[in-house]
Symmetry: C2
Subunit: 393 residues, 2 copies
């Protein structure tokens, strides 16, 4: 027998990252592959305490069904965090999601008919591309430079292209490139979205992990017409295992998200929302983030310095001011997938860059994560990787 | 401005149940509307304890990303529970989901092209119909009687209908009817699915809440070709606020579910899975279920007895041997939506039955839940409802 699956399933394969992650669970592997936060920094003790407290104090509501929109006091805490990106909002505009990944899936669901066009940065986050693929869109990649998406290229594509539904962007410490958009580009993006009547999906998992300089206003800050949906998450600032994220949007736009969220999982865990809300009430998340930043900055510096001294000439990489990733461009004749095979033999893992380009190409690129390995392993891993690159020159 | 949403959004509206539930959060309302378990029975103390324990003992893995498939020891606990329905399986065949509602959404995603046909019981679970609607299928309702789906009707539809992808069934204490399928019908369903090469989606949230008689073998027990996906959940036997359910299927079939789960939310909460796994290790869930059953049985008896003595002649209802619901058929000229308006004025809520029929009609039906109200409120609520019905005769 062969069951008869939907057409969309032809496009859906296991994510290369997730498959790599399985491999990298072997403890001897030095992994720069995932986007995993450093587990030794999780506020385990405080969570143990508040978890117990919530169950003891309001256990029967914590374990019961709750509204699809999310737990009120948790949404109020989220509103406070939105101020970091200079977004003034209220809890009516917040929908709690099961990680920001769910926000991406729901975005595909509310916007995309088969053949509709999604615009994204080139390169863009693999997990978002995979979420959208379930809705059978076409992708148009917009070129990027050190200041973010190139607005001239975006406008040209918007002029020429039918059925564009939204532009998906990660303006802060972009995944995979590590780059941050300039303020001018943020303003211009909203201007163009208004002109061409498309939505903007602003994904910002890393913005608060800024090691130097000031957090710029979010794209959502410049939204005058309620066409920006902002996706946030506690995965990188707190812990990903809780699966708590959110969507901030207004009116009918948010209502569409709420409707589809109902069908997909009714609501996000009541007890998890209550526990994290309690943590946010009792403790200072900003203080916790400061601790994370100290460690990640050190790891970034160490990784970039080791790359500078060890990588052969002709290998370029980005200088992220925060977040989790740096992006490497190899000489054109080196295929990063082949490099990955070589590297895994030497117990080093990373994600080849090709899969971050929905329309293919750019096989000479790769993404490195610096948040999840200790300093010794970072130096050792980069040295081994440098050897592998030299072997392939 | 008006953003340009996907065509599917034309079919997606707020669930009547969820909207009603909002209303019923007012404490003075006697609500027979939701499918809410009794919160006073949740094992709050034990959960407080194991929550703390998991975080203290393995906090940094509990708060980290984990595999899409789910946490290994939790999946092993699920395998044990599957034996209740005489299903012998292994953890490789289990995917942990965010409630069984997510299993329904993922089912739509892997099977349905717009216009494909879903077969379901008439009536069927509103939340499942809503989840499937996002994938724009046609529904064909198969008639039911006290023994479940009528197999002659199913075969006739299968013979006549193109593009049937799956049949969705709730064989144990069906939602909304409260009825349970006979063993003969279960066997015959598998036989017909084999013959016509369709999948079976067996949804079983209530099967373990059986007040009398033996749990029959699941439909999945009779599956010889790996075409039954069994959806389970801890929402009714433990607590819904955790959002923990599962899919049991094999090989390529389960793999499809895993692929789409990755895109929709990466994985279900690691910490919730570890906490419930710890509870299942340390405590006896069966013992807990015995306690729930005593209370629900009493409430069912009281509701049915009060209905028998108070409801006017010409009103019929089902006698569920377990689960949460009874199903009421009013005289044909009474519209349950009008009755609901009248009842809500008297502070009694229920779900009108029309929305359980995807192709409409049957407006003289309604669903009553007996698990969530105490005995005093059950009697009072049914008496008031009886008055409302009499008013409309």
């Amino acid at each position: 027998m062969g069951l008869n699956y939907a057409k969309r399933m032809d496009n859906i394969k296991a994510s290369e990252i997730r498959e790599l992650l399985k491999l990298t669970q072997q403890p001897e592997i030095i992994s720069f592959a995932g986007g995993l936060p450093a587990p030794e920094l999780f506020p385990v003790k405080q969570m143990a305490e508040v978890s117990k407290q919530v169950l003891e104090e309001v256990g029967s509501s914590a374990l019961q069904y709750g509204p699809t929109e999310g737990y009120g006091p948790f949404r109020e805490q989220i509103v406070k965090r939105m101020k970091k990106g200079q977004i003034e909002t209220s809890k009516e505009n917040i929908l709690v999601t099961s990680g920001s990944q769910q926000g991406l899936d729901l975005t595909g669901m509310i916007f995309l008919n088969p053949g509709d066009v999604v615009l994204c940065e080139s390169p863009s986050y693999l997990g978002a591309l995979n979420a959208f693929k379930a809705y059978q869109p076409k992708f148009k990649e917009v070129s990027t430079d050190d200041d973010g998406m190139v607005m001239e290229d975006l406008e040209k594509i918007l002029e020429e292209t039918e059925n564009v539904k939204f532009v998906y962007v990660i303006p802060d410490f972009q995944n995979p490139s590590g780059r941050t958009w300039s303020i001018e580009r943020r303003k211009k993006l909203v201007e163009l979205a208004n002109k061409y009547n498309i939505a903007i999906i602003e994904d910002n998992p890393y913005g608060e992990l800024r090691f130097e300089g000031e957090i710029p206003p979010a794209v959502k800050h410049y939204d005058t017409e309620g066409r920006v949906a902002y996706l946030g998450t506690f995965s990188k600032t707190f812990a990903p295992g809780m699966r708590l994220g959110w969507i901030c949007a207004e009116g009918e736009f948010l209502q569409k998200y709420i409707f589809v969220k109902q069908g997909t999982d009714l609501q996000t865990s009541t007890v998890s929302q209550m526990q994290l809300a309690k943590y946010l009430e009792k403790y200072d998340l900003d203080e916790h983030i400061e601790k994370i930043k100290v460690v990640y900055k050190k790891r970034r510096d160490l990784m970039l310095n080791t790359m500078k001294s060890e990588f052969p000439e002709g290998v370029k990489f980005t200088y992220p001011e925060g977040g989790l990733f740096t992006w490497v461009i190899l000489p054109e004749h080196i295929n990063a997938k082949d490099l990955a095979k070589l590297a895994i033999e030497k117990k080093v893992a990373f994600v080849p860059g090709g899969s971050f380009f929905p329309n293919g190409g750019n096989e000479n690129t790769l993404r490195l994560n610096y948040s999840n390995m200790d300093e010794e392993r970072i130096v050792l891993g980069i040295k081994r990787l440098a050897e592998c690159i030299k072997e392939m020159l």
